[in-house]
Amino acid sequence: METQEPAIVVEGLRKSFGPQRVLNGVNLRVAYGETLSVLGRSGTGKSVLLKLIVGLQKPDSGSITIRGQDITGLTADELNEVRKKVGFLFQQAALYDSLSVGENVAFPLKRHTEMSPAERNDRVRELLQQVGMEEHRNKMPAQISGGMQKRVGLARALALDPDILLFDEPTTGLDPITAGEIEELILKLEEKRQTASIVVTHDLHGARMISDRLALVHEGNVLLEGTYEDLEASKDEFVARFLKQGS
């Protein structure tokens, strides 16, 4: 793996949509081999934070350093080079609905690698095997369930062997068994690849299981950051209410 410098450093991040301030000076750090779960109420800008980290939206101010490079001032081509090392699992998986499961996973490989069709085929098989979706390779996204779509989305996010992974509510809308399977999959990936991960979630139990640290976002800021035990020990009224409702 790389040096000891953190994989992701977010400093003083601010973002507004019209008069509504969504993020108000967020600071975060994630090291390689570490998973940080970002928790908070709906509409507190958690998904926006992920989109800012991958450069899909521009911050109003603040800096986002990915693998030692501040991405806020990069050109489109430079940003794309950074994105190749970041895997993103979207909330609804966001599979390309005109492509089959296999073609979805092959999409980034076709565009960013020099692999021959046979090599690509093998790589797609390997990725789909990892997420237990190999037998559904030729199906279209509309023909598989939401949980399966998330698995395929995960395989696609892993296609370019990223060392940073961003998960936007990976278990939302899934039954507890499928949610558990996705969480196990994320844990396995962490152990195997030593990636730096940020998981945006509402699921306190899941977050506790897969994360090294938790960050609770409230009113555009990180209210508290630490282990689950740190959250439990907090005297803050909002933290206590969040833990009580989430457990």
Binding site: F88, F90, Q92, Y96
Partner: protein, 270 residues
């Protein structure tokens, strides 16, 4: 008293609505300008998406062909029926082939093709890109370091530009053949004679500029449909709105462009 108070309020509201309409109008053109800039940058920088372009040529071209051919044929029939009735009255039936060929090649064929394609392809592109936008597929593409302006927009716009003139040729051909067939049912005439009489007064300048002007229609249809699709907001309702706006605006701009292009052609190819 209440009435007197409500009148200035209604006036203020009217002013506000007008102001909003004006600002939305200029905002739309401003955004379109930025969109064109992004598209131009994406279109000229390698790597080029050849495979996706071929796919889009098929989507825009081959799949529109039956509809365009049918519309061209119907135009030929209607034109022949209308002109036969009028020209018979004035004893100018000998001019029928020339009038039918001129009308179809110079105006009816191109504009019918433009409107048919803006309906079929414009709605398709608007809805497809709109749906991709609201389901975060376009974000996913960008996050995978693939430029959606290059992969999705440039290929669709280029396909429209390239296919419109070819589809126009098909519409012209079907229109002229059906025009002859309809005429010959009223006044028997061989196809050879119809063409000989009709093409006597047609030269290259009558044929080429009106066919090539449809490339501009293609540009308009592709641009507006992609633009409306890429700025879609608000779930399935937004997708529906994007599809409708794509058709309405592209048809409107095709008709407006026709006015300008016809004048331009008359100036440069008198």
């Amino acid at each position: 008293m209440q009435e007197a108070l409500s009148k200035p309020n209604a006036g203020m509201r009217g002013l506000e609505v007008t102001k909003t309409l004006f600002s939305s109008f200029f905002e739309w053109f401003g955004e379109l300008g930025l969109f064109c800039g992004r598209l131009a940058r994406a279109a000229v920088s390698p790597p080029f998406e050849g495979r996706e372009l071929v796919h889009q040529l098929d989507e825009v071209g081959s799949k529109s062909l039956p509809l365009v051919a049918l519309a061209g044929a119907a135009t030929g029939v209607v034109l022949s029926l209308q002109t036969y009735a009028s020209f018979s009255r004035f004893g100018a039936k000998s001019l029928l082939p020339a009038v039918i060929i001129h009308s179809i090649v110079e105006e009816s064929g191109p504009i019918v093709t433009g409107l048919i394609v803006s309906g079929r392809v414009g709605a398709g592109i608007g809805a497809e890109l709109g749906s991709m936008k609201v389901t975060e597929q376009i974000d996913a593409m960008e996050a995978s370091a693939v430029n959606p302006y290059k992969y999705l927009v440039a290929t669709r716009v280029l396909a429209c530009v390239l296919m419109l003139p070819l589809l126009t040729l098909a519409a012209d051909f079907c229109g002229v053949i059906m025009g002859w067939l309809t005429t010959t049912l009223e006044e028997p005439m061989s196809l050879g004679l119809f063409f000989e009489a009709g093409l006597k007064t047609v030269n290259f300048n009558d044929f080429l500029p009106p066919t090539l002007k449809t490339a501009v229609y293609g540009l308009i249809i592709g641009l507006i449909a992609c633009f409306q699709g890429m700025r879609t907001q608000g779930g399935t309702e937004g997708v529906g709105r994007a599809a409708t706006n794509s058709v309405v605006l592209s048809s409107l701009f095709v008709v407006l462009a026709d006015v300008f292009l016809v004048r331009l052609i008359l100036v440069f190819f008198p």
